[in-house]
């Protein structure tokens, strides 16, 4: 008993309680294999974007690039400086939708998740169940009803048609509720006794503990909205998003396949950078706070 404690305190084993060599090797092998498979499409997409036109359509296809060229990226840059609607306009639209939708979702979802996880009120169980049921209904048949509703409330051809639905993602709410279950009731009660109102408790006590959920929602929402094409709700060219602009470039046919693959890589980069930053933040915060069941 005592020796273990002392070893932990002196940092000799630290995180290494109950860890053996064999298990470590198993972990390395398992993770390594999976990473190799999961990494394939990333490497391939990057390789592909550096291939000259001749290599893109080579048969049999090659995984690795033989004569790398940046012509595809140069071509993409030239095309985007030469558009009817300025390229920066599409970029701004995408950034605005992504930012507003993600921030809006965080606010709306956190506000709703706190009572659903930590308050007792009539209807709570039904609402919690409804969120899960809503996740189970396929979105494939919702296009027409959604369009009719959007027309009735006058949101067609505005960015709000993308931003407002993005704010009520049940995945985000369900995730937030799951993490808020683990916030200790003691600290909430203590804050109540100190005279904090529920909004202040949410902001000061609950939100710092559920930072991993916040970061995961940011990652998930960003990647979804960043590749949003507007779901058919946006008609005016000035309001369209970056993926639409890239689709229009790619629609130019085989001659633009190289530029298209460069565009794919460019679209991949921002969500990945954000993912990296957000995940690093998750780890830093978790060093300070922990789940206490």
């Amino acid at each position: 008993m005592k020796p273990i404690r002392n070893l932990v305190r002196r940092g000799k084993i630290g995180n290494r309680l109950n860890r053996g060599m064999g298990g470590d090797l198993l972990v390395l092998f398992f993770v390594g294999t999976f990473v190799a498979f999961a990494g394939l499409p990333l490497v391939f997409n990057v390789m592909h974007s550096f291939k000259p036109l001749g290599e893109l359509f080579l048969f049999p296809p090659r995984f690795f690039v033989m004569e790398p060229t940046i012509a595809n990226y140069v071509g993409l840059f030239q095309m985007s400086t030469n558009m009817w609607v300025p390229f920066t306009r599409y970029l701004f639209n995408s950034l605005w939708i992504t930012f507003a939708g993600t921030l809006g979702q965080l606010v709306v979802v956190s506000l709703a998740a706190y009572p659903l996880a930590k308050h007792v009120f009539p209807g709570r169980a039904i609402l919690n169940q409804t969120i899960i049921f809503a996740l189970l209904f396929t979105t494939m048949v919702l296009a027409i009803p959604s369009y009719v509703i959007m027309t009735h409330i006058g949101l067609v051809d505005s960015h709000l048609a993308i931003i407002l639905p993005a704010m009520q993602r049940t995945v985000g709410l369900f995730l937030m509720v799951s993490f808020m279950y683990q916030v200790p009731m003691d600290s909430i009660e203590a804050a109540r006794i100190d005279g904090c109102n529920e909004f202040k408790i949410l902001w000061k006590i609950v939100m710092p503990v559920v930072k991993p959920a916040t970061m995961t929602i940011i990652i998930f929402s960003f990647q979804e909205l960043w590749r949003s094409t507007g779901d058919g709700f946006i008609i005016t060219e000035n309001l369209k998003t970056l993926p639409v602009a890239f689709q229009q470039i790619q629609a130019g046919g085989i001659a633009r396949a190289g530029i298209g693959s460069a565009a794919t890589v460019i679209m991949m980069v921002p969500p990945m950078i954000l993912f990296f930053i957000a995940q690093q933040r998750v780890m830093e915060t978790m060093a300070h706070s922990g789940i206490k069941g």
């Binding site: 404690r5 860890r19 409330i153 995730l175 799951s178 279950y181 991949m268 789940i291």
Partner: protein, 306 residues
């Protein structure tokens, strides 16, 4: 709000007392009602009509459901495939996801983040990720798998992986597992990281002797809410398979061998414009998923503490 036992509380009193809770959930549920509940309900109603996107829908009762369940052969294939995905790929992917998060939790710093990113990437870039599997399973002698097997003399002529009804489903299942490390994976991983270190020390003192015992007796019970979240996401994901099938096996696939319920819905909705039928199918799918979800809930219900 804590319920006091001394006073018998009437429902209206409870509702009045909880006004702050209702105020906080209001923004979400107003948006949710407009953008999710209303479309879902209207779609469910359309399931009882012959809506074809051109004519005014007429109410035709249960005709769509009868057609699907009795006359539609493809529905039976799609149903069988979807159940295979739900009962095999779903649990397999789930176990794999928990193992991966558990293993990644042993890593630190930038290595950990990079590994997480790479494993998450297929689900992030979705559409751009599929075509790598084409090169692997290309049906001619130039496909990587065929080429490899032929070079080693294991087969003598190329296997038509994505065309043969016997092999295509297995390949789609592999790809589905590969792509299912999504938001559920991130949640469980964050859960692992969040477990307070003192629990492991206490467990070691109490006699936990290896990492498997630690996982089973300490970690998993503590992160039950994240595990439940991931299970629901995995369930929803494995019932919703269609893009992989369409990308790899074609649309329709040979003898509809790779069809799924959602692929069948897309067929009705976007190719045949029989939206009434598509909606009826969506309702059937919903009820299948609700039943499976209730089973899942039973597994987890006692473990999610309030």
């Amino acid at each position: 709000m804590p319920v006091t036992k001394s006073r018998k509380l009437t429902l209206s009193y409870q509702i009045k007392k909880s006004w702050i809770s209702y105020l906080m959930i209001a923004p979400f549920f107003i948006l949710f009602f407009i953008f999710t509940i209303m479309p879902v309900l209207s779609s469910a109603v359309l399931g009882f009509t012959n809506f074809n996107m051109l004519e005014t829908p007429n109410f035709i009762g249960l005709t769509n459901f009868r057609h699907l369940l009795v006359y539609d052969d493809v529905f039976m294939i799609a149903f069988r495939n979807t159940m295979i995905f739900a009962l095999v790929t779903g649990p397999l992917g789930y176990v794999l996801m928990v193992l991966l998060s558990w293993f990644i939790n042993e890593l630190k710093g930038v290595v950990r983040t990079t590994v997480t990113l790479i494993i998450y990437a297929p689900s992030m870039i979705a559409g751009a990720a599929f075509f790598i599997w084409f090169f692997l399973f290309s049906p001619d002698a130039h496909g990587y798998i065929n080429g490899f097997l032929m070079r080693w003399g294991l087969i003598y002529e190329p296997v038509l992986w994505l065309i043969n009804p016997n092999t295509v489903l297995i390949i789609i299942m592999i790809v589905q597992i590969w792509i299912s490390m999504g938001v559920g994976f991130l949640a469980v991983l964050a859960g692992f990281k969040a477990v307070d270190k003192t629990y492991y020390e206490a467990a070691a003192i109490d006699g936990v002797r290896n990492r498997f015992q630690e996982l089973w007796f300490v970690t998993l019970p503590l992160i039950a809410p994240q595990m439940f979240f991931a299970a629901i996401m995995q369930l929803a994901g494995s019932f919703a398979v269609w893009e992989i099938s369409v990308h790899l096996a074609g649309f329709p696939s040979t003898e509809y061998a790779a069809s799924t319920i959602v692929a069948h819905i897309v067929d009705y909705a976007q190719i045949r414009y029989e939206l009434g039928m598509a909606s009826a199918l969506a309702v059937i799918l919903f009820f299948i998923m609700v039943i499976v979800n209730l089973g899942l809930r039973r597994l987890f219900i006692n473990k999610i503490s309030n």
